[in-house]
């Protein structure tokens, strides 16, 4: 695949994105951690202190952080990738290179944030004295699945937004709604049984729920839900790549 020849270029784009984001900010890379931490604090205040959402006996802060980490990775990939082709218009319309590098490098750059946020997560695990067991190793499957899903979404939204510019404004709203539809603020155990099947329609649900289960509860994931996420991830990626390539020519013409 041609993409392999350009692997250095992907890394160059990622470096560029990281530099651009953190060079001029005072706290630099710290921002990658501040976002999940800040949300965790706000959620803990509202949904734990005020509302007392059921968190299966896990301390709410780490309960929400464990979900925020994969969620912020997926949502950032979507939001930033949406305008990525538009933003790189000058480059993309004048020189040839595999254009999928643009949205995919956004996803990789978000992965770096995820990695940094994970370091803090590790510290939190120690602080809350969580007994991480053998199931924690299941991350080896969860992380690639998460990456596949985020990559798929990046490819799809970047193409669609380049064509239908209105989507730029709809995207943040859509992502926000999606967060509420996912087990980020709450856990699936609090959901009424009749509504549980709806979560099969949510590609991110299985991934996020499994993240919590394998790390914080040392439990097997909900296999059915995880399988649905897996199918979503693979299916959306294949579809997304195909869509991207199919519309690439058209996008270049109208950018």
């Amino acid at each position: 695949m041609e993409l392999w020849q350009y692997k250095n270029l992907i890394w160059l784009f990622v470096q560029r994105d990281l530099q651009a984001r953190y060079k001029q900010t005072f706290l630099g890379v710290g921002w990658a951690v501040i976002q999940p931490l800040f949300l965790m604090l706000v959620f803990s205040l509202i949904f734990d202190k005020f509302l007392k959402v059921d968190s299966s006996g896990i301390p709410y802060p780490i309960f929400s952080y464990a979900a925020l980490l994969p969620w912020l990775f997926i949502s950032r990939s979507m939001n930033v990738a949406a305008t990525s082709l538009i933003g790189f218009k000058a480059l993309v319309t004048k020189v040839y290179f595999p254009r999928e590098i643009v949205p995919l490098s956004i996803m990789v750059s978000s992965l770096v944030d995820f990695a940094i946020g994970s370091l803090v997560f590790f510290i939190m695990l120690l602080h809350f004295k969580v007994d991480v067991g053998g199931w924690g190793l299941f991350l080896v499957f969860l992380v690639p699945m998460m990456i596949l899903l985020a990559g798929a979404l990046a490819l799809i939204v970047s193409t669609l937004t380049a064509i239908f510019r209105d989507l730029q404004f709809a995207m943040p709203l859509f992502v926000q709604l999606w967060m509420y539809a996912s087990p980020v603020i709450y856990g699936l155990q609090g959901i009424q049984k009749t509504y549980l099947p709806l979560f099969y329609l949510n590609p991110a649900a299985g991934i996020i729920d499994s993240f919590r289960r394998v790390i914080l509860l040392n439990q097997a994931p909900n296999w059915g839900l995880l399988a649905s996420s897996g199918i979503w991830a693979v299916g959306l990626f294949v579809f997304g790549y195909w869509l991207f390539k199919k519309l690439e020519g058209f996008v270049i013409d109208i950018l």
């Binding site: 020849q5 350009y6 250095n8 270029l9 160059l12 560029r16 651009a20 000058a90 480059l91 319309t93 004048k94 020189v95 040839y96 290179f97 064509i163 239908f164 510019r165 209105d166 989507l167 690439e248 020519g249 270049i252 013409d253 109208i254």
Partner: protein, 246 residues
């Protein structure tokens, strides 16, 4: 050995007030079942030609004839609506000033960036870096973000990177005219070396007809998206010149 082959290639672009498809139009069309009409025009129409390795070909024609579109099609920046295009080897194009440059990066960073965009490895670019810098004559400005470069500086850097990455096919589109005479001569010399080699192909677009007669051995006269004439450089250029007399 053919370097570039066009077979019945057509390319249309949008024009007119309805340029952007909007979600509203699209959904509206879905709802009513009616197709939305967009105005189009042919930039390139049913073109067939072949360029062999080692040829130095010029494209002449009026503005809007389709020359730049052809270069975009050759370099895969644009895709044809109809027909097939086959190219061989590494293609480097100077299609526009600053093409392939990231405005926020410095000249130094852009040499690496642009080179890698053209498909070269990091190592190759590191090796060629000094030569590129030297040729461009921009040593004292190289650490400035290129968004502050003048058009002449863009031309220098762009040409330097393109030619030193040793492509098999070089596409040059009117960008040289921006450089000063000294630089133009330098480029011309370098291109003569490039042209002289039997394995390299060059496609040159310029309105400087004498330059074209000097370099190219073959010229295609492009008119309204079609090939009007294809042959010996001297003859075709003279033909074209004659048509330009009002």
């Amino acid at each position: 050995m053919t370097s570039i082959v066009f077979d019945r290639v057509s390319k249309q672009y949008f024009k007119g007030p309805r340029y952007f498809p909007s979600l509203r139009d699209f959904l509206g069309a879905l709802a009513t079942g009616k197709k939305v009409e967009y105005e189009k025009f042919y930039a390139v129409r049913d073109m067939t030609f072949a360029i062999n390795r080692g040829e130095s070909v010029g494209f002449v024609g009026n503005n809007g004839a389709g020359k730049t579109t052809l270069l975009k099609l050759i370099s895969r920046v644009a895709l044809p609506d109809r027909g097939t295009i086959k190219t061989e080897g590494k293609i480097a194009g100077l299609l526009e000033l600053g093409a392939g440059f990231h405005p926020e990066l410095t000249g130094r960073e852009n040499i690496m960036f642009n080179g890698m965009l053209l498909g070269n490895s990091k190592q190759e670019m590191a090796e060629k870096y000094e030569k590129i810098l030297e040729f461009s004559g921009l040593k004292s400005f190289i650490d400035m973000p290129v968004k502050h470069f003048s058009s002449g500086m863009y031309a220098r850097l762009g040409f330097a990177v393109a030619i030193f990455t040793d492509p098999d096919v070089l596409l040059v589109d009117e960008v040289l005219s921006v450089g000063d005479e000294a630089f133009q001569n330098k480029c011309i010399e370098k291109m003569e070396v490039f042209f002289g080699s039997e394995q390299k192909t060059v496609v040159f677009v310029t309105h400087n007809l004498d330059l074209m007669k000097r370099f190219c051995n073959r010229v295609l006269w492009i008119d309204k998206g079609r090939i009007r004439s294809d042959g010996n450089a001297r003859e075709v250029v003279d033909e074209y010149r004659k048509s330009q007399v009002v």
